[in-house]
Symmetry: C2
Subunit: 333 residues, 2 copies
Amino acid sequence: MDGATPLTTDALVQLTAMLEPELQATNRAIVARMDSPVSLIPQLAAHLVAAGGKRLRPLLTLAAAKLCGYEGSRQVQLAACVEFIHTATLLHDDVVDESVLRRGYASANTVFGNKASVLVGDFLFARAFQLMVEDGSLEVLRILSAAAATIAEGEVLQLTTQNDLDTTEQKYFDVIRGKTAALFAAACEVGGVIAGRPAAQCAALAQFGMDLGMAFQLVDDALDYSAVQAELGKTVGDDFREGKLTYPVLLAIADADAQELEFWTRTIGAGEQNETDLGSALALMKKHNTTLRSLARAGAFVESACAALGVFPPSPMREALMDVARYTTARRF
Amino acid sequence: MDGATPLTTDALVQLTAMLEPELQATNRAIVARMDSPVSLIPQLAAHLVAAGGKRLRPLLTLAAAKLCGYEGSRQVQLAACVEFIHTATLLHDDVVDESVLRRGYASANTVFGNKASVLVGDFLFARAFQLMVEDGSLEVLRILSAAAATIAEGEVLQLTTQNDLDTTEQKYFDVIRGKTAALFAAACEVGGVIAGRPAAQCAALAQFGMDLGMAFQLVDDALDYSAVQAELGKTVGDDFREGKLTYPVLLAIADADAQELEFWTRTIGAGEQNETDLGSALALMKKHNTTLRSLARAGAFVESACAALGVFPPSPMREALMDVARYTTARRF
């Protein structure tokens, strides 16, 4: 797909450029507000900030506010909140997943230990709520506290489906709706809320974020079985090793013959893996065309996301957000 | 001290009896609101609820509200919030400390695994904020989100002082102020806030809770080197094994001769311990009278706590709260 959709692959760069001053203010707020007299906290937080990341979720808050014609400055602090909640979940995820890499760098738990990652995650989560309280909107607090609870529910559900070959597609979608899409939805909705937009427009923004998040996670899960490690910035096959029942695995299991089912039962169900198994898994994925089928499913969510923005009149920001959604399925693999 | 202060040892029982209907309503709220379609969440939370606990922190919210003549019902849900925040920190603490027992029962991380403990802790924390948002007071949200951030800071500070023999008394007090006293303070203050009491009375309640929390943790840290395991409901010597620089250790190190200092440097500083070391540590604690000296320090906080309540006219509830403070230093050891 390389080169086939040059415009959409630049979509995130384009959105970032359109929101440069707000994003820089958000980055300043992030650095300023992750500070603490307990020096390990900013040290560990800086490790994550230095590792970069696309700032996709805070960008959504900034973009939604701009799409709604918001002219104040509250979106900056709330975008920082969204990033703090995201960072807190990353820190806890890496402990739960025993990850070694995050965005191509050594993960915080590898450098600072699991204990520090758990506790600094807690700090960032609490700090996010302090920033929301400063902002003073109970509606924003309601949206983001509900998202935080839903994220945790999604993560716990993922834990209970791990190694469970009976996991349904429905359950997989429940997991990614919770662990990923809920925060995308909240990040978008908040932009409409501070702009004082009517409920239907706020709901449309939430729908856009939800669909975008679903597409994003579907592609992420597909890439875990297909991307080059260096490009992805993480180890290929993490999900396989952890026995996660992601979409490509569900597709491969649904189409498996008896011998293949035995393979998945041993490697994912029982978690018994040897060094040739990842290669076999990748071959089965290729055989059953799971990557393209995952991208097609993601594409349906992208269409729904773009349709949700139809309640807004055409504008450069609306097009930029739609391009970001379209870009999701054009990521390299 | 057994029997010397019969009235004060019954103080918590007495306070509980005075607040029986509110406490039962709080327990119902806790059970109702820890529910989730993801069944592992109520399962794990129920494990902690079944293990009991004194409900000391929610009792403080209920008592403070009653002391302030509050006649509504908001204290019930906010007391549940306080317990959720406390439970979330317990879940994460047990992961961080690698605890095996909690309140005499197998700890949640032992039964359900570290991953589930981290994630269900996150859920309870988020749910606490949802309940606060439902309550609708930004002032309450401000107090409890600040307490949550301070708790995390205290826990991280404790982590950085672990095995560090240069830890000062000041730093130890910073740790326990954060990890324990901040939530006691917030739990009390919230009771005054919902009763609409003037700032001075709310501050007095916060001061009472803060001092009570300091005394409580000092006694807890003393008990870790002196209590009978069965009475305490946890393993004696946990702090020793984890290399925590608690008050009794600081006292023993300050008074150590060269040979004793070598012992502490090896066992706490370097964390090199053999099976006879806990016995030696207990003998050194006895030699330097660290338990009684810790209790004396706690006693000073109890006095300060009781003095803080002087802004309120005498009443059965004021006396009951003061008795709970006095009871802190009368716990068996």
